[in-house]
Subunit: 219 residues, 2 copies
Amino acid sequence: MSATNEDTIANRICRILAERIVTGELEPGAKLRQDHIAEEFGTSHVPVREAFRRLEAQGLAVSEPRRGVRVASFSLEEVREVAEMRAALEVLALRHAAPHLTPSILNQAEEATVEADNARDVRSWEGANRRFHRLLLTPCGMPRLLAAIDDLHAVSARFLFATWRSDWEVRPDHDHRAILAFLRQGRTENAAAVLERHVQRIGQKPVKNASGGAFAIVG
Amino acid sequence: MSATNEDTIANRICRILAERIVTGELEPGAKLRQDHIAEEFGTSHVPVREAFRRLEAQGLAVSEPRRGVRVASFSLEEVREVAEMRAALEVLALRHAAPHLTPSILNQAEEATVEADNARDVRSWEGANRRFHRLLLTPCGMPRLLAAIDDLHAVSARFLFATWRSDWEVRPDHDHRAILAFLRQGRTENAAAVLERHVQRIGQKPVKNASGGAFAIVG
DNA sequence: GATTCAGATATTATCTATAATTTCGTCGCA
DNA sequence: TGCGACGAAATTATAGATAATATCTGAATC
């Protein structure tokens, strides 16, 4: 039951590098040296290069011919761009998913919200948050749309992890609950409207809170 | 000034294969054999494999580990999905581009519309149509969004070329003119609404017209 | 006559090696 | 001491070769 059999090496490298980039373990602008990575994974550089191409397509790395591959940098502007794209696409997905949402799915989404509210660190909050969004959108049955949203989620998560390196405070997520409430009433358009505002908040510029720390609103 | 210098071989292979897939020269489901392609381009198979990864990311090819790469098949459902994504993203792009649209740009877009209306074959119509959309959207200054739209355009074009293999009739594009008229008046939201409907029509199922031929509405 | 198993063939995924390009450090000179 | 050019090291891009896997063909058996 080893993952090596169903997955190609390039895939595994891609997945692991993507995780490192998203979590911030690999910082923006850091060089990705194929020989080093190949050595780390005990492979040659060929699968590493293939993994690079996929990371490039996901927007997590940028490659300049003959000058190597670097972890993509991301400006606040870019984060806002991704937020707007996510808002547009998630709303689309939600509209198509709504007719297929069952009480069971909505309950699972509520559980994810509770879990997010009780999360003690960013990592677990992000996991629960992503599960919430995925649960509601997957039933739309549009694979390409979902894949695009997933890629955008990864970039959002990057921003999230970069902003909250260690300090994280528990905040109940009113938007998620409002979305669930509307969906339970069959008011899809209201839910979509909340979702749109909710996701767009990701890119809002960091604001100072009472304790003086820099905070950004996330979704 | 050869393109070989600024572009990697993998890029060139990717571009040429993408064109073949889009134009229908390579049919859906066709196997892409790396050794054959490598031989054709006079290279080894390594850059070919890298090109495959990019085609995969663009949704033009699908790869099963150890079983090779095939030209992606596309159902009417998938075309509709792409149309909806395009509609959502192009509307977003247009909203951000509108403030930066100059009379010069709008005039160029009008020229593109005229050119499309006079196009005698699908290829040239598609080129002019794409130029129209690109002219209006590029000023939004959101590179990732534009790249995503470009990829979706490619899939739309595939459907277009597959539907009109040879027969093509000239039809004036009222939507394009309406969009331009609204933009000239600064009525961005009206323009966006027309654009949204316009793009969504791509995926509408083919209908019979008076002469009995099968037609699909495109945009 | 259909089905299954085995061998042959073709293709993929990977590794090792080579050529070319870039970068970085150092040395010389003003 | 600062600037520029040269050279060495590192890295990328490609080529050729190898092992593993899937597909196809055909025959033998039920």
